[in-house]
Amino acid sequence: MSKDVLVINERVQGENPDLTFELIGKAKEIAGILGGSVGVVVIGDLSGTEAFGAADRIYTVEHDALTSGYSSQVWEEAVLAVVESVQPKLILFGTGTIGIDLAGSIAKRVGGPIASYVIDLAVEGDDVVATSQLYGGKLLAESVLEGDTVVASVIAGSFPSEAGKSGGSPEVVSVSAPSSLGSLSLIPGSVKEPDKTGVDITTSDLLVSVGRGVGSQANIEMLQELADAFKVPLSASRPVIDQGWLPKPHQVGKSGKKVKPKVYLAFGISGAPEHLEGMRSSEMIIACNTDPKAPIFEVAHYGTTLDLFDLVPEILEKLEA
């Protein structure tokens, strides 16, 4: 078993996610303590690997099945091939689709423990200690990961990405493709870029944003009026979109748009990590939520626990005055 830290780059196409650099930065710190090195696993599209200069090694797997699209089965077999060859002490996934998809199954297959929703990592003797966010950020859990190989799936925004961006010229190691890639039952197909039509919430200096606390589609009307009064678009959390109350382009967050307005007004949004990922770097966040313990207040600059149905009409009144 090695003392190496392996970072899985969650990229099927497009740019390398910032999260990979966050993970590389943390991996360097941990590998430094353990006395191991840092490897980045790059699967599929091998362009853009020069960005990983901060790592010691880049591991690639090449196979026809990896040239286009994404299938968890294909990625799992490829990642496992690298893991088996490197035998790392720690494997870092981001809690993105690929992390949610593969971190657990890889841990199961290597027989090591996994911690999900990790926001901090430390080393204690031979063990890795993980701090995780549970219950949508309402509680934290500190757990010890013991074993030759342990796995952590890290929430975006937990570590600075700068430390993972420094230059260098890592060795590129090509790991031979596992034969399992020849017999697939989950066949990769096409990848579709996001729909660019509809409202653009990313360019507005002010956003009025609505969450599930609004309760019903009919109640959205009041928030729409507020957005109209400010002459800005109405944005929303994911459940509002999944309920069909607003179309997808309005969604803020991990699986929606990243926004950075001067002011983000959040009504009835709890502040789950996946939502925060899309808006936490707004210049000023003002949150209205009846639950004083809602995690949104951890990132908000100003807050109120008033009922949105009492507050919104008064803001409208003020604007009309």
């Binding site: 593969l102 027989g111 002010l206």
Partner: protein, 267 residues
């Protein structure tokens, strides 16, 4: 009970794994043990993503026929969830009994459900929620897939039948979608169904309670395998970042408009 074998071409037997979870709207307190939440006073509700998985399974059944079986571990108020699944259109409900109360690790869920799936044998797809807010030791779909040696996919927003296969759409983040085709048994972690979960009127749930029975399956001895050793659970140290705006709605509205005006975003 004899299992009806589905012979109709294209018909699929879908199993939906559901579970109860502390209602996140409630105040969650840490138990005296320091390593779990206090379960005595919290309300338990069905995991929202499992409801999306059930909806997707019902849509598949409506399209090609077949059977939807819901299965859950015996947890507080789980009968309500299972009967309401039947009221929405599930054909059978199974409860795994004999599990210790408390915080059930996901890998224990995965192994118990895998035992049942193995004994049942003739299912085509297992659908469950993409995640649950307490699944510290990994998400269920991947763990079941790895336990059974069946391919899996998570963050799925569509599972559409196509002949005897399922065309699967996964969200890769930021709105990018990826498609793959499952030609055999598959395990899916559902992020959202093609439509919002349907509603089961209380009369239908009552009817389900009086006309159907929940089958039971005995939990078996399990080798749990390595997992995170939880040292403590605690509320996040409030960074006290948010300045709370005091006053009645009129006063707070005034302060908010003032803050926005100071940024030059309103006259």
């Amino acid at each position: 009970m004899k299992v009806r074998r589905i012979e109709k071409g294209g018909a699929l037997k879908i199993v939906v794994g559901m579970r109860q979870l502390a209602d996140l709207v409630e105040e969650l307190e840490v138990a005296d043990s320091g390593v779990d939440i206090d379960r005595d006073f919290v309300k338990f509700v069905s995991n929202e993503w499992d409801e999306a998985a059930l909806e997707e399974a019902l849509l598949i059944k409506e399209a090609v026929g077949g059977e939807v079986v819901v299965i859950a571990l015996d947890e507080p108020d789980v009968d309500q969830t299972l009967y309401s699944a039947i009221a929405k259109g599930a054909d059978r409900a199974v409860k795994i009994v004999g599990v210790e109360e408390g915080w059930t690790p996901t890998r224990l869920r995965a192994q118990l459900l895998s035992k049942w799936l193995k004994s049942e044998g003739d299912w085509d797809a297992f659908l469950t929620g993409v995640q649950a807010a307490d699944d510290l030791d990994g998400q269920l779909a991947g763990l079941i897939g790895a336990t059974l040696g069946v391919p899996h996919a998570a963050v799925v927003s569509k599972a559409e039948p196509e002949g005897s296969s399922l065309r699967i759409t996964q969200e890769l983040g930021g709105g990018t979608l990826s498609e793959s085709v499952a030609t055999g048994k598959v395990v899916l972690g559902i992020q959202a169904g093609r439509q919002a979960p349907r509603y089961a009127p209380i009369t239908r749930i009552r009817q389900a309670m009086s006309t159907s029975t929940i089958e039971t399956f005995d939990a078996q001895e399990i080798d749990l395998g390595p997992g995170p050793k939880v040292r403590k659970i605690y509320p996040p140290q409030s960074k006290g970042q948010a300045t709370m705006l005091d006053g009645d709605p009129v006063e707070v509205a005034e302060k908010i408009v003032e803050l926005i005006r100071a940024k030059g975003l309103v006259r």
